[in-house]
Structures are given as structure tokens and as C-alpha cells.
Symmetry: C2
Subunit: 461 residues, 2 copies
């Protein structure tokens, strides 16, 4: 707090920094007139207390994913939060951005895991109590969660944790088409037997995933050929087929009984088991995908993602409209578009859609191309009733759509909290409070060479 | 909105009013210098849209529990929210107070059910989108949930709903003591097989519950005697025994498989099945308890409740300390104390404790007696790491403990939102923002004859 007070006295802006893996632009300096300090949180990395009876852990916010899991495993526990950025991101960052891990279907999103937290602001400390649920007015935990560094520094949190799972299996299935895979996912939710992770690739992403398979022997290629013939006999039209990856973890008996239930549902909707190899390949590469972008960027191919969530009845309309909009935006620049999508993170009322796009760069127009397709995706989300992001935060990338998402008065409410807790506006200034000119600003920041460099330099973007 | 604007123009305070059943004092006028209007919401009672595929329903906020369930049942759906006040309370009131229904173990607390909402403030409308989860900065739904009418009027909400259950059973069990019943509850949570409702009475409340049984025939009395002998043989010390009521609902096969799992756990912790009659008696009287208070008040007996939540490891220490504190506070006034407690609303990390107390009034000192025991309970919650209320809201009754619960800076954050959305302070003024003098104020309001009259007149208090 002394640091923040000093910063306030000298009008220095502070941006709390964990792993620096955020890809929505939460961490770059926006206010260039003032001195800005990135406050490195990584030395606050300790698990302070574990209550095995209540399954809670009090943890400092600067801890990285692997370090946290290692410390918790000493108590036989896991947090169960495994975002794509797991290796490079911190607890504080997850909370400040409303992150989701791959297994949120079982463990919840990060906001579901927070029992209590401590946030240091320039003037005082906000601290809540370790209680499972309360009716103490407006839930102030939720003022800190998702605040993206704009109110203060989240220094520690008490999280719900779980006994480490005895068993884990990752079966893969192929569905005859996207629609039947989606129906199967929804049926698992209705029957209250969701896996801990479920991820349905659309046909384009299925083709991409299968292309990432490790090189295979001649025998396994022969087996593959036989399997493909079997699928055709079963009525599969292979270019329309969709890969479904599912994970189950927990006690051995619970895993096997749930696996049985889910497999029966999958069969009912035409799903065919692919055996263990696709799941194994996913397990060994699951944290690699973000690095592929950087690899491709250096080879004149831009790839990036936009993701959202919506209710079940809106998933297919939103999917189709967004794919159309993204492809049209790329095609306009004269290069062939590629895009794909997976559905994951299921909830009672809906799920998340995660779009990936890619195109060959046209020299000198790289950012224009990028901004056109990113804009098309985000605008499609908003036009079709979805949200600006399911788990990547607002940052600078999504700021122009914030008022459309949470209504102008929602933005004013957020600004009011900011004004109340950080009247000097030193905490991550410029974020969560879009100016009326937000969209022009977005184009300007996106168009700067700095932003382009940043895109290439960061471990993730 | 026109109403609120007119009110703001004429400096008239507005208190949104649904069923008037709140027992924490959320609805009485606190600012006596200004004209105050209770805004009756009860004509906004329609289910506007049901999406059966996504299991969502958009509903006007003024609808009463039974009316809502009847409209939803036309679509084959239920909200699954059944608080004690179900017959006399509204959706808007549930959301504004962070209410919990009896079956929150299955369906969640009200804040878990809200997908989107609409709140009209004196200046504009805050509206959020119907999405299952988001990462769009600070979650503005959570600014409205629990706002107790201080920011605006919640006019509608989109809620997650569920197919109506095919089957429902309410078994009752007797445990040899409180501790083993508690262990059994926690084990169900750990095994991820919680019932839709679970309620463990302590020995004092068990005795009270059994006294409420309907009059029995001579034969059933004989059977009872035999059963008591059986319990003694099984090692039960009857005055220490605890009643556990459990409910399961859902698909027939799911209900029976879960019932099997839970019964096995109960047996492991010494639970003995009591057959269907105790559950039947609970089902037929579950909404009656609040009326008993009014009945007793008119007969010179004060009874009331205080409830909270805490983590599993703290339940017994908190239980013992609070019982001691409440009994000492009553005993000080020279009459014999009665108090009891039940544990319900289980979560991964803890549960709710619901204390009931009663005493014979000493003429002229009724409110003093009441305030002493209420204060003892609330202070014990705060001293022992719990929260001021699990589902009854802050109101006036719990206001002096708000800063201790959410920290002084938490209170300032709430005040900042209020300042931002209701700068004229016309929405339910005086609530959620305790003055430094909050406790003296509490004693003053509590001591006024008005408050005493109110206690006797309201259908619930």
C-alpha cells in the first residue's frame, strides 16, 4: 500500500503485472503522458494456509499456475484451474480477468472459486471474509473480480480447492456433424452428468486438429484407412465430421460411472469412439497452441482468436453468422480466409464459442487485415446477443463493445466504483471506461507500429 | 422510469415493495424528513418468455412465488426457488436481498440463477445480456443483486429454470449426535452427491420439531415406543439425537440412485431412517413456521432468528459460541432462554447455520430483551469469522455489522456505486451505507414503539 500511496502522491500510473499472458491488451500503457509502472507481483507466490476440512486455500496472488499446483499438491489438493495460459499466468491475473480453465465444467470459472479476497487500493485495503455464501448487500468480491487492475492490486485470495483426482481419462469421439455433437453436449448438461472438460471442434477445426497428430507408423496408417472405411459405412461424411474431446477426473468409481453415462449419450447422438490416441495427443500439447501463433506470425501468417458465450438455442445461429462475417472480412483484403470454432465450457443455459482465424499477411496491411476480422467477430457477437468475451477480459481489444454489452449505465456504474476507490485514476488508467470515441481509439492503437511489434514479441498475445 | 424521475425532481424517497416479507428491516422508512413512497411492484407479474432449449425464463420482478411457479409449470418448468417466505415474496425481492430457497443445494442461491436483469434507476436503465458466463470486466449483474432497493428498481430478470421434477422424496433420519450428522452432510458434498435439500436440527431444535408432529393414534404411539427402545439398543442417547431432513428431486432414476448413495453415507455415520412420516409433516408445514412467531408474540413470547454461513471447519466452534452468547443474553434479563439451530444450504466449502431463539417477555422490556439476544448472535457471527446473514439481507437489523463484514473500504465501494447511480439519494435511503453511529442508531430504531408495533403487525418480520 505504501507503493500505491507514493504513486498517487507523484501521479504515477500503476499496472499490476502477473505473467503478462493476457491477450486482450490489459497490460500495456494507455496513458502516455504519465509515468507508468508495471507492478511485478511474482514474488508474492506462497500458499499461506490450506484448510483440508473445508477445502479452501489462502494464496498470494502472484503465484504461477504450475507453482500453485505444486504447493497445493503437498496438501493433496488442486485448484482445478487450467487455462491455456496456465504455464505463464498467475492467480491474481485469473481473478482480475474472470479467467476460465479448461475444466471449468467441473471446477467452475475462477469467479466461482473465490471465497474471499484482499485488494489494496491507493487509499485502503478491501478485505472480505472466508464464507461460502452471504447476503450482506452488494457482493464486494464481485467488484474486485474482473476489475482488470483498475481499482487496486489483488494481493491474496481464499479459493475453494479439491482433493487431487485419483483418476483421469480423456476419450475422443467423432460425431457425424457439428449439430449432433452439440445436441450430445447439451443432453449431458440436462442429465447433470457433464464431464470435467468437453470440447467440440467444428469441421474446419477438426481438420486442423487431426493435421496436428504426431507422425504415424505404416501400420497405424493402415488401421486408420480401415477405420475411415468403417466410418463411411456408418454413414459419416468425413469432411463434415466433428472431433469431440472429453475429460473426466475424480475418484476412480465416479469417473468410470460418469464415463459410462456420457458415452451412452454420445452413442445416442451418433458419436463414435476414437480410442485413446487423440486424447493423448491433446494432453501432451494442450498448452502449446498459443505458441503456434507466434511461430506463424514470424512466417507472415496472422492467426488469432475471438471467443464468447451464449445460450444453447443461440449457439448455431451465432456460429454461422460469425463464421460468415469473419470470412467475409478476410476475403475483402484479397486473401483466402481460414476460420474454425470449438464449443467448450458448458453451463446449464449455454456454452462458450471459441473462434480461431488465420490469413496470409499482405505486406504493409497486416494490422488493417487483423482489425477487420477482429472487428467483424466482435461485432457479430454483439449483434447476435452474445458477450464480448467469455474468458479473455475487456482490455483494449474489446473496449469499444463494452457499453453495448453491459449497457451505458453499466459502464457508468463501473466508472463510479473507480471514482470511489481510485479518485486519482492511477490504477491501470483508460481501461473498463471507454471514451465516446472508443472505436476510433481502438483503430488508432491497433494501427500503431508499437501494437504490431507487441503482437510479435509477447509470449502470448 | 418516469416515476423515479418525478420522485427525484420532487426529492421523494422510493422504496421498491414486493411482498413485504423481509425480516431484516429492508422496507421501512428510515429518512423521516422526506416524503417516502412504497413502489408496489405486484402488477408486474408476468413470465414474458421461456426458452425451453436453453432452460431460461424472462420474468417481471413483481411476481409472487406461487404465481411464478404456476406460470412456469405451463411450460413444464420450475425456478426451484422455495424460501420460507415463498407464498408472500417476489422475484425482485429475492434478487434484491440475495435470497436462498430451501433447495439451494440443487438449484443454487438466487444470485446463481440470474443470467440477465434490468434495473431502472432515477436516471437511466441498466440492462445486461442473457449469457451464461462472461469476462466483460466487473460483473454488473452483481451490482444489482443484493442492492436492497438502494440503486434502482429491478423490473425484470432472465433466470435459469429447470424441467419440473418427475419425482420427489423427503426421507428423515435420526443421528446419534449433532457432530455425526454434520460429518455425514460434509461427506455428501465431498462425494458430489448432495440432496436437493438437507437440514440437520441440533438436539434442541430436534425436540421442537418432534413436538410439532400431528397428534398420533394409540397404535402409532406404541410403535414409537418400540422404535425408541430400538434406538437405545443402537446406542442412541435420545436427548442428544438430531433430526436430519433430506429432499431429493429430479428424474426418477436419478432420485433413486442419489437416495441410495446418500442413505449409504448416512448409515456410515450412524443415521437411522425414520420412515416417511417426519418428511410428510415437514412438507405440509414448511411455509408455516414464520406465522408461529406472530402467534407467539401475541401471547407474550418473543421468538426470532439469526442466520449466517461459515466454512466446514468453523461450524461447530461458531455454533457453540453463538448458542452460549445468545443464552447468556437472554438469561441476563432474568428469564430462561431457549435456542436451537439447524444446518442447511450446503456448499463445497461450508454451510449455513440458522439459529432460532425464544423467551418470555418481561413487560416494558420486550425490545431490550430482543435487542440483547439479537446483538449477541450477530456479534458472535462477526467475532467468529462468519457473515452477518446468509440469506436475510442487511436491512436495518444487520447494518451495524456491515463494515466489519465487508471491510470499511467495501462499504465505501458500495457507497460509490450508490453515488454514481442515485446521486439524489432517493432510492431506499439510509440502507447499505451505515453511519459511523450505526450501532446507536440501531438501538434507537429498535427501541422505538413503532418498531415494536411493526414487529407485531407484519405477516413476517
Amino acid at each position: 500500500m505504501r507503493t500505491l500511496r507514493a504513486a498517487a502522491r507523484h501521479d504515477v500510473a500503476i499496472i499490476p503485472f502477473g505473467g503478462g499472458s493476457n491477450i486482450a491488451g490489459c497490460l500495456e500503457r494507455m496513458d502516455t503522458r504519465r509515468m507508468t509502472v508495471s507492478l511485478d507481483m511474482r514474488r508474492m507466490r506462497h500458499v499461506l494456509a490450506v484448510d483440508a476440512e473445508s477445502c479452501t486455500a489462502r494464496v498470494e496472488a502472484g503465484v504461477f499456475g504450475p507453482d500453485l499446483e505444486e504447493q497445493l499438491s503437498g496438501h493433496g489438493m488442486t485448484l482445478g484451474h487450467f487455462p491455456d495460459s496456465f504455464l505463464h499466468s498467475t492467480l491474481g491475473g485469473w481473478i482480475a480477468t474472470r479467467s476460465a480453465g479448461m475444466q471449468s465444467d467441473k471446477y467452475g470459472k475462477i469467479e466461482d472459486m473465490v471465497l474471499a479476497l484482499r485488494m489494496v487500493t491507493p487509499e485502503d485495503v478491501l478485505a472480505t471474509r472466508m464464507v461460502p455464501k452471504s447476503s450482506n448487500g452488494i457482493d464486494v468480491n464481485h467488484l474486485c473480480i474482473g476489475s482488470e487492475g483498475t481499482l487496486g492490486v489483488i494481493t491474496e485470495a481464499t479459493m475453494r480447492v479439491h482433493p487431487r483426482p485419483e483418476s483421469r481419462v480423456v476419450p475422443a469421439h467423432l460425431f457425424p456433424e457439428f449439430e449432433s455433437g452439440l445436441e450430445a453436449m447439451r443432453e449431458c448438461v440436462r442429465r447433470e452428468c457433464t464431464p470435467s472438460m468437453v470440447r467440440l471442434n467444428d469441421p474446419d477445426k477438426t481438420a486442423l486438429s487431426l493435421a496436428f497428430k504426431p507422425p504415424s507408423s505404416r501400420i497405424s496408417r493402415a488401421v486408420n484407412e480401415i477405420f475411415k472405411r468403417y466410418l463411411r459405412v456408418k454413414g459419416f461424411d468425413l469432411p463434415r465430421a466433428c472431433l469431440m474431446l472429453t475429460a473426466f477426473e475424480g475418484r476412480k468409481e465416479d469417473v468410470s460411472s460418469r464415463l459410462r453415462q456420457v458415452s451412452a449419450i454420445y452413442r445416442r447422438f451418433g458419436g463414435v469412439s476414437l480410442g485413446p490416441s487423440a486424447g493423448r495427443s491433446f494432453e501432451s500439447t494442450k498448452y502449446d497452441f498459443p505458441h503456434i501463433r507466434d511461430f506463424l506470425l514470424e512466417r507472415d501468417v496472422t492467426t488469432d482468436v475471438s471467443e464468447t458465450s451464449t445460450v444453447w438455442s443461440n449457439i448455431l445461429p451465432l456460429y454461422r453468422a460469425t463464421m460468415r462475417a469473419m470470412r467475409a472480412a478476410v476475403a475483402e483484403s484479397g486473401v483466402p480466409p481460414w476460420s474454425g470454432c470449438h464449443i467448450s465450457h458448458t453451463y446449464h443455459s449455454g456454452a462458450s464459442l471459441y473462434f480461431t482465424f488465420g490469413f496470409i499477411q499482405q505486406q504493409g496491411h497486416e494490422m488493417e487485415q487483423y482489425l477487420a476480422v477482429k472487428r467483424a467477430a466482435q461485432q457479430s457477437f454483439i449483434d447476435h446477443g452474445a458477450t464480448l468475451s467469455h474468458h479473455h477480459a475487456v482490455g483494449t481489444e474489446h473496449l469499444p463493445w463494452l457499453a453495448a454489452d453491459i449497457s451505458p449505465l453499466g459502464v457508468r456504474a463501473v466508472a463510479a466504483i473507480k471514482q470511489g476507490l481510485d479518485s486519482g485514476n492511477i490504477m491501470n488508467p483508460g481501461r473498463l471506461c471507454p471514451s465516446p470515441d472508443a472505436f476510433r481509439e481502438w483503430l488508432r492503437i491497433g494501427g500503431e507500429p508499437r501494437a504490431n511489434m507487441k503482437a510479435k514479441a509477447a509470449p502470448f498475445r
